[in-house]
Each structure stands twice: as structure tokens, then as C-alpha cells.
């Protein structure tokens, strides 16, 4: 059953075995390590991860979405309310944003 190696196989023989294994496992056979750009093909695509950095919009609905979906409820965002009140009060005191240049 078991085979004992008397001596090491020759270099050619080893290369043949390596080539065969590369063919079987779908690897690129490149014994001279020529620059064939294979490492660019091997690398996984980074795009899908990069796009997700600021979060995906479908992950959760926002307050604005609920407002849009149920207009009959007349939902009010308290934080937005406070901000608008601040803007109005500032405008009353002439501290509001400057008017846009018109030409």
C-alpha cells in the first residue's frame, strides 16, 4: 500500500506535477513569474464595499419617509420645528441669512 521514496523526483517531474495541479485547481501556470497582470484579476472587486461607506438608504426609513407615506397623519418633526422657529426669530431680529445676489 505505502510507497517509500528511494530518492527525490527530478526537477522536471516536480514541475510537471505542479503544472498539473495548477490545471486542476484553475490556477494560472506561470513558472518564470512573468508579469502578466494576473494579480489584478485575482484581487476581489472593492466597489460594493466602497459605495456602502455612508450607509445604504434602504436599511431604515427616515422621518421624512414616514411624512411622505402618511400625509393624513400630519407628522411634525420636533427638531425641524425648533430649527424653523430659530430661523424665523433670527429673521425678525434682522440676523437672518443675506439675500441672494440677483443680476
Amino acid at each position: 500500500m505505502s510507497v517509500v521514496l528511494k530518492k527525490l523526483p527530478t526537477k522536471e517531474r516536480l514541475l510537471q506535477a505542479k503544472k498539473l495541479s495548477a490545471e486542476i485547481f484553475g490556477e494560472i501556470w506561470n513558472p518564470q513569474s512573468v508579469r502578466n497582470g494576473a494579480k489584478i484579476l485575482r484581487a476581489p472587486l472593492k466597489g460594493p464595499e466602497v459605495v456602502k461607506y455612508y450607509g445604504t438608504n434602504d436599511s431604515m426609513p427616515t422621518f421624512k419617509d414616514f411624512k411622505e407615506w402618511f400625509p393624513e397623519l400630519k407628522l411634525v418633526d420636533p427638531r425641524e420645528e425648533i430649527r424653523m422657529n430659530m430661523v424665523i426669530s433670527r429673521k425678525k431680529r434682522n440676523k437672518g441669512a443675506p439675500k441672494k445676489k440677483s443680476s
Binding site: V34, K46, G47, V51, Y54, N57, M60
Partner: protein, 115 residues
């Protein structure tokens, strides 16, 4: 008001948004869209088994692609404040935003160090 980017895209909902964040998001989307083309051109340009003129052509085409499709144009920005400097990658937070949250005990596992 006209849309200031060459292609329309979805504005992120779940983070702080300002002009610079929008610009970055636009570049990210463009990079993801053109990644396959860029990598294909890069592969041709770097493949020494192909003819020199083919490789040159590929390199020229790669250089002619819009700048916003390049990955080097993307910069990680703070999710909470939109700041582009001193962003801690583990939390996607700027140093001030991180410090505020860490002191409030909002970030899981983070405590004030003492030794």
C-alpha cells in the same frame, strides 16, 4: 437649480450630508461603476506578454478616463460631521465627534483609558 454633478445619484439618508460628503459619495458611486473597466485596462497595460503598442493604448485610455472614477480621489469622511481630517477608521468618526460620543459612553466597548 441644476444638479451640479454630471450623473444623478441617490443622496445618502443616514449620515450627515454637506457638499463635500455629496462630492465624495458621487466619486464612490462612479468608482464602483467603472471599476471593472479600469481594472481591465490596467490588466492590459501591465501584461508584459502583450504587444507594447497595445499596452500603451490601454494606458492612454486609462489616463483619459474621468478623474472622478479613480479610487485615489476617494477620501473617508466623518459620518457624523462630514469632516475629512483626523477620521478614525474603526468608527468612521472625526476625532471631536469620537471624543464626544466616547465620553458619553455611546460607542460600545470604548471607555476612558487609565493605567
Amino acid at each position: 437649480m441644476p444638479f451640479r454633478f454630471p450623473v444623478k445619484f441617490e443622496i445618502p439618508k443616514h449620515c450627515y450630508v454637506n457638499a463635500r460628503v455629496l462630492k465624495d459619495q458621487f466619486k464612490r458611486i462612479q468608482y464602483a461603476e467603472h471599476e471593472v473597466t479600469r481594472n481591465a485596462l490596467k490588466h492590459i497595460a501591465r501584461n508584459t506578454e502583450l504587444a507594447g503598442s497595445v499596452r500603451l493604448e490601454a494606458q492612454l485610455q486609462l489616463a483619459a478616463m474621468p478623474k472622478y472614477t479613480s479610487p485615489t480621489q476617494i477620501r473617508d469622511r466623518c459620518v457624523a460631521s462630514g469632516n475629512g481630517k483626523w477620521v478614525i477608521k474603526d468608527f468612521k468618526l472625526n476625532r471631536t465627534a469620537f471624543r464626544e460620543r466616547a465620553r458619553a459612553g455611546i460607542i460600545p466597548g470604548v471607555t476612558k483609558a487609565s493605567w
